[in-house]
């Protein structure tokens, strides 16, 4: 960093995180309507101009930061600090940051006037004129300050280079005020809560997650010590236009309309736990500024800049979006063969052969529901027309809470037809995880079965509600009202059919290949599930990869026991049957149900999850000769989701003796990446990790080597036996993470690659070995170690069912701890008995890993979706706690 020393006579920091040299008073002539001509107003600012000068460089631009109510410029201190940090300077240069105390707020003048929204927008203009701010300027706002900063932005387009917003709202017509604000506005509460007492301040500060430290809380309170100092706080609340008759309504309406015409880059950082400026305002803002990059900090609240670090990512965003003038859009523009997802269906409009089959409970082939290709194509069009009639538009998000089968298939292809974005969060996330996922994706519509609609009602999931099934006639009205249902799928289908029978054959515009098509969710075994966005082109690429890798063709008959691939059946031109099973619990697939499904379509291919195959093998004894015979016709079994023990694969092979058994490796962000078959697994033998084979058609894999401190070097290599983060490149890799801008930056930070978060290595034959998750590595004094080899060695011990090896202590000097689930399980968790501990130590030692401790546990914490991924992060925290004297309890 270029350095010029700052004045030696530096005053001590007035508040935590604030340099005395930042504080500044400015006298500004006022042109606000509320002031008499010639009035001057005294403003207090935090301004890092001295810090910028000390770098000896010209600032890239200025961040003009406007706080809300009842905070002050203190809110932006981390931006001031980061603006001249070595990292920011290296990324393109320092930024000037001017954080304003609005009049009657913070340490600015108490004017004795009642300043309305229009005055405040004028005030900001007066200030920026007096400061002679020159472009480029990025407006930054929070809470009610967001609206004022946007008002300033729409009037200073010649200076404006970008917009940053944190938990704010433009309070559009048609939206009611949040309940908490309504309460604050109530005459009985208003002046008591805002001015006479510091209640409004205390409540706002209390929203921080985690709680503010005492000194920071005191700093936020500092300018508002007495009722006379708090008049502005009360006036601010009173100026919120609750109705159209309010004097500030017109000003607000103008701002909320005008921002749609801003063409600058926009960044929104959001705390979804905000009880006032909740996700609905984020969704509203996104309709007005669809170009925005968004990051929702799961778990953060209203004071998002206190709850999370927004400063570092803000400057990273500025460097990328504002100062570089480069659009990272979009590698997708590279032209490649693109065949829309609906082509196969469209080409078979006259085909009366079977397309899709649902096996019904205790089903035989006679109790199943079947559609031909012609019927499926017609239903998809009719449903699409019905949805469009209801108001669904291209780009709308539709959450589908419907189990796999014909109904879901029809819905998915109808949405693709319309260009509506499907949001697929499965019940495997658990109710809480599912709710978080849905709120994160913010669907415009939510289509679900009764149970899902009840959940939506109970947990206040967003979106216009549509029932998947009709209600019976007697309860229809009551149920609809109770669950707030706008329509049902059968109704919409009927509407669409009526339209087409009336001769209005619907025409649909094919969606842009690079427009968004689907949001899928990660399993959430490592933190909150992440939304993963696919475009039409990338979904089509996923289909093409499966098709090429496994030689799937028209005429293939597919048993769909694994959801993500199963949805591709109609796009692949494969006849698809959904077996009778509870899809939320893969282990409910029995051998009989699988065989019945196979019989129904003379299946040639089976897609299943490992948990499902375990149960199939376990229940195989009851198969009839006819059922067994059907399975002998299967040519390919695909087990996706998690690795499968070789022994189990041999048992599956006995059931399907003519099938090639494949276990692809992949992730929600790229499905699949590599593939291996049973013979390949046998040939690979044992090693450090799980051998997952070679890249599938169109995909490439590389390794980013890892340093001793666990840091990844951004130098992709395909050299054998180098361990590091697994990198993936393929046409079917995700387009981006949804509303997780920071996460997306991380995952694409190695140019041209998706960082998988998995660790592994390639061998001399080019096969990939997966050693675990990046967050599961151990940074010991012997360097970086992955747990898989030791775990596999420990699991070979007779009395060990499952093992996990985790690190405790600081990175670089971590101690390795093995946690084992025994047969039979221990009754409560604690140190393993001496003999077991010795055996486990010896087994780990053979793989070169010395263990500090061996702990026996009654049951491992695992993810719900696969019931197989051990939550090692949780285990590590738990082990660290109990091995430092804490109570064992549950992980």
């Amino acid at each position: 960093m270029v350095g010029v020393s700052l004045p030696a006579t530096e005053f001590p920091d007035p508040w935590p995180g604030v340099k005395a040299r930042w504080r500044r008073m400015v006298s500004v002539p006022s042109t606000a309507a509320v002031d008499a001509p010639g009035t001057r107003r005294e403003w207090h600012l935090l301004d890092n101009a001295q810090d910028v000068a000390a770098t000896g460089m010209e600032p890239v631009g200025t961040l003009f930061c406007i706080h809300g109510n009842p905070t002050w410029s203190y809110l932006w201190r981390t931006l001031l600090a980061e603006a001249t940090s070595p990292a920011t300077v290296a990324a393109g240069g320092p930024w000037r940051v001017v954080a304003v105390d609005q009049l009657d707020m913070g340490f600015s003048e108490r004017t004795g006037t009642f300043r309305r929204l229009a005055d405040r927008i004028t005030d900001l203009g007066d200030l920026s004129d007096a400061l002679e701010l020159s472009g480029p300027v990025v407006s930054v706002g929070h809470d009610w300050g967001g609206i004022i900063s946007l008002g300033w932005a729409t009037r200073h387009r010649e200076l404006l280079a970008g917009v940053v917003l944190t938990n704010t709202a433009v309070h559009p017509a048609g939206f009611s005020l949040p309940p908490a604000l309504k309460l604050a506005l109530h005459p009985a509460v208003h002046s008591w809560g805002t001015t006479a007492t510091p209640a409004f301040l205390s409540i706002t500060h209390g929203l921080a997650q985690p709680a503010l430290s005492d000194d920071v809380r005191a700093a936020f309170m500092a300018p508002y010590a007495s009722p006379s100092r708090r008049v502005g706080v009360g006036n601010f609340v009173a100026d919120i236009p609750a109705t159209e008759s309010h004097p500030s309504w017109a000003a607000l309406d103008a701002v909320s309309t005008d921002i749609s015409t801003l063409e600058v880059p926009v960044l929104m950082f959001w705390g979804p736990k905000d009880p006032v400026f909740s996700d609905r305002y984020l969704r509203d803002l996104l309709t007005r500024m669809p170009q925005a990059d968004v990051h929702r900090f799961e778990g953060a609240s209203h004071l998002v800049q206190e709850d999370r670090d927004i400063a570092v990512p803000t400057f990273a965003w500025l460097a990328q979006r504002v100062s570089a003038h480069s659009t990272t859009e979009n590698a997708d523009r590279v032209q490649q063969d693109y065949v829309p997802m609906l082509s196969e269906l469209d080409s078979r409009r006259a085909d009366t052969s079977v397309a899709v089959v649902d096996m019904l409970p205790d089903g035989t082939a006679t109790t199943s529901w079947t559609l031909s290709w012609a019927e499926l194509a017609r239903d998809v069009d009719d449903l699409a027309a019905g949805l469009r009639e209801l108001g669904v538009r291209s780009g709308d998000r539709i959450s589908l809470l419907v189990p796999p089968g014909i109904k879901l298939t029809t819905l998915i292809y109808a949405c693709l037809r319309l260009g509506a974005i499907i949001v697929v969060a499965d019940a495997g996330l658990g109710t809480r995880g599912l709710g978080r996922a849905i709120k994160g994706a913010g669907p415009n519509y939510l289509i679900g079965i009764d149970k899902a609609l009840a959940g939506a009602r109970l947990y206040n999931w967003p979106g216009i509600k549509i029932a998947a099934e009709d209600f019976n006639a007697s309860t229809a009205a009551a149920s609809k009202k109770l669950l707030n249902i706008t329509a049902t799928i059968p109704e919409l289908m009927a509407n669409g059919r009526a339209l087409h029978l009336a001769g209005n054959r619907p025409s649909f515009t094919a969606p842009d290949p690079d427009s968004d098509a689907a949001v899928l969710f990660t399993s959430g075994s490592t933190g909150p599930a992440k939304g993963v966005m696919y475009t039409h082109r990338r979904l089509a690429a996923m289909r093409d990869t499966l098709k090429t890798t496994y030689s799937l063709k028209a005429g293939t008959a597919l048993v769909a026991g694994f959801a993500p691939f199963a949805l591709l059946g109609p796009a692949l031109g494969a006849t698809t049957v959904t077996p009778d099973m509870d899809v939320t619990a893969p282990s409910t697939l029995t051998a009989q149900a699988l065989a019945n499904a196979a019989v129904a379509i003379d299946a040639t291919v089976v897609f299943a999850s490992p948990a499902a195959l375990v149960n199939v093998v376990a229940t195989a004894a009851g198969l009839s000769p006819a059922q067994r015979k059907a399975l002998t016709a299967v040519e390919l079994v695909l087990s996706a989701g998690a690795p499968l023990a070789e022994q189990l694969l041999h048992q599956v092979q006995e059931l399907a003796p003519n099938a090639a058994l494949h276990t692809p490796y992949g992730m929600t962000e790229a499905l699949p990446v590599t593939d291996i078959d049973l013979a390949g697994i046998s040939a690979a033998g044992a090693g450090n990790g799980v051998c997952v084979g070679t890249p599938v058609s169109g995909a490439s894999v590389a390794i980013a080597p890892i340093n001793d401190d666990g840091a990844v070097r951004p130098e992709p290599t395909t050299e054998a036996e180098v361990s590091g983060e697994i990198l993936v490149r393929a046409p079917h890799v995700k387009a981006r993470y949804d509303r997780l801008w920071i996460t997306e930056q991380h995952s694409t930070s190695i140019d041209g690659w998706h960082r998988s978060g998995d660790i592994g290595h390639l061998d001399a034959e080019g096969r990939l070995w997966v050693e675990g998750r990046m967050e599961h590595i151990l940074c010991t004094t012997d360097g970086v170690r992955t747990p898989v080899a030791a775990e596999q060695a420990i699991e070979l011990l007779g009395d060990v069912a499952r093992a996990a090896v985790v690190g405790v202590g600081p990175a670089g000097t971590q101690s390795a701890v093995a946690i084992v689930e025994t047969v039979p399980p221990v009754r409560s968790a604690g140190l393993a008995p001496a003999s077991l501990a010795a055996a486990v130590r010896a087994a780990a030692k053979k793989t070169g890993l010395s263990l500090a401790a061996v702990v026996a546990i009654d049951a491992m914490p695992v993810d719900v979706r696969h019931n197989s991924k051990i939550d090692r992060a949780k285990l590590s925290r738990w082990a660290a706690r109990m091995l430092s004297g804490g109570k064992p309890g549950r992980p």
């Binding site: 405790v808 000097t813 140190l831 001496a834 500090a852 401790a853 091995l883 430092s884 004297g885 064992p888």
Partner: protein, 339 residues
């Protein structure tokens, strides 16, 4: 590399009657140094030794005469006792030795300290050597050693180089402190585990500690002015360590566990009673539990050894398991156990 030129130096080792002091003197002797030991009791050794108390300034002055380097291990080590006794031996004694050494033109001074000087009662999980805290360290021993370490390191200068080596929980064959107490109490059924013995504790096999201390002298170019924690770098649950020591000695391992919070509370009370009784001559042994001991046995303390190992250019040669094997051999070949 200062190892070669260090051969043949005249080195004073204080506190050489203890397990670690003896091992240090032996190691220096084996490496061809001229060793002089100072201890309170008369001992029969292969090297020159003198008897006396460091509290006596004349003894200190005589001991450092003609000496190139000092390794200072002598200390009052006890869980109980009067504060004034700790001050006399650990603080005043160290200061007198430092003064005498400087006057006598001694070049290097290794102060053997303890990680407890920076242990404030909570868990230490993979931490480095914290600053010594005479005010907040736990117990008289740790506080007096902390004060002495501060005094010693403050003397560090190019002409008189001082390092502080802090071996953590030293044990080995012939250990009358930790090992023998564990064995005796376990045999008597008087040793409980705290919290199931789950706390991870790093220890130091005596040969490793001795080697590290000697390395401190040999690597004084890099080590001076610093405090370095020394351990085996092999944290283990304390219950497993105790069981391992018991197994080596052929006595049953502790069979019952009490909650750590209870032991910490009881330790405080027992300690007070024992101290009072001791001053009246009613008891002569160490109390069965003290607050310090309860904290040591119920909280994790293991350390980041990377810095220490880099500065000393040293790695422990004897692993924990090898040390336990040597301990077992020692107990098998002892003619007559003392207890």
């Amino acid at each position: 590399m200062s190892g070669a030129e260090a051969i043949g130096r005249r080195i004073l080792v204080t506190g050489a009657s203890g397990l670690l002091g003896k091992a240090v003197a032996q190691l220096l002797h084996d490496r061809g140094h001229s060793v002089l030991t100072l201890q309170r009791r008369a001992v029969q050794q292969d090297w020159e030794s003198m008897q006396g108390s460091m509290a006596d300034p004349d003894v200190a002055a005589r001991a450092v005469h003609g000496v190139d380097a000092v390794i200072h291990l002598a200390a009052k080590v006890s869980f109980t006792g009067e504060w004034s006794d700790f001050v006399a031996t650990n603080i005043v004694g160290t200061r007198q030795l430092l003064t005498a050494a400087q006057r006598a033109g001694v070049r290097d001074f290794v102060f053997v300290s303890s990680p407890s000087v920076a242990h404030l009662g909570s868990s230490i999980v993979g931490a480095g050597a914290g600053a010594a805290s005479p005010d907040f360290a736990r117990g008289h021993y740790a506080r007096s050693k902390a004060a002495a370490e501060e005094i010693a390191l403050a003397q560090d200068s190019p002409a008189f180089r001082v390092t502080a080596i802090r071996p953590h929980v030293v044990w080995g064959p012939g250990d009358t402190q930790l090992v023998q107490r564990i064995v005796e109490r376990s045999r008597a059924g008087r040793l409980p585990l705290l919290d199931g013995g789950r706390a991870l504790i790093d220890t130091t096999y005596v040969d490793n500690a001795a080697e590290a201390i000697v390395r401190g002298l040999e690597r004084m170019d890099y080590a001076h002015g610093q405090a370095l924690v020394v351990t085996n770098g092999e944290p283990r649950p304390v219950g497993e360590l105790i069981a391992g020591i018991c197994a080596a000695a052929g006595v049953p391992a502790p069979a019952y566990s009490v909650p750590g919070w209870l032991a910490r509370g009881a330790g405080t009370a027992i300690e007070k009673v024992w101290t009072a009784a001791g001053t009246r001559g009613w008891v002569h042994d160490e109390p069965p539990m003290t607050r310090f001991l309860a904290e040591q046995l119920s909280t994790a303390h293991w350390f980041d050894q990377r810095h220490t190992q880099a500065v000393l250019d040293w790695k422990p040669a004897v692993s924990l398991d090898e040390g336990l094997a040597r301990l077992a051999e020692y107990y098998q070949h002892r003619d007559s156990p003392k207890f």
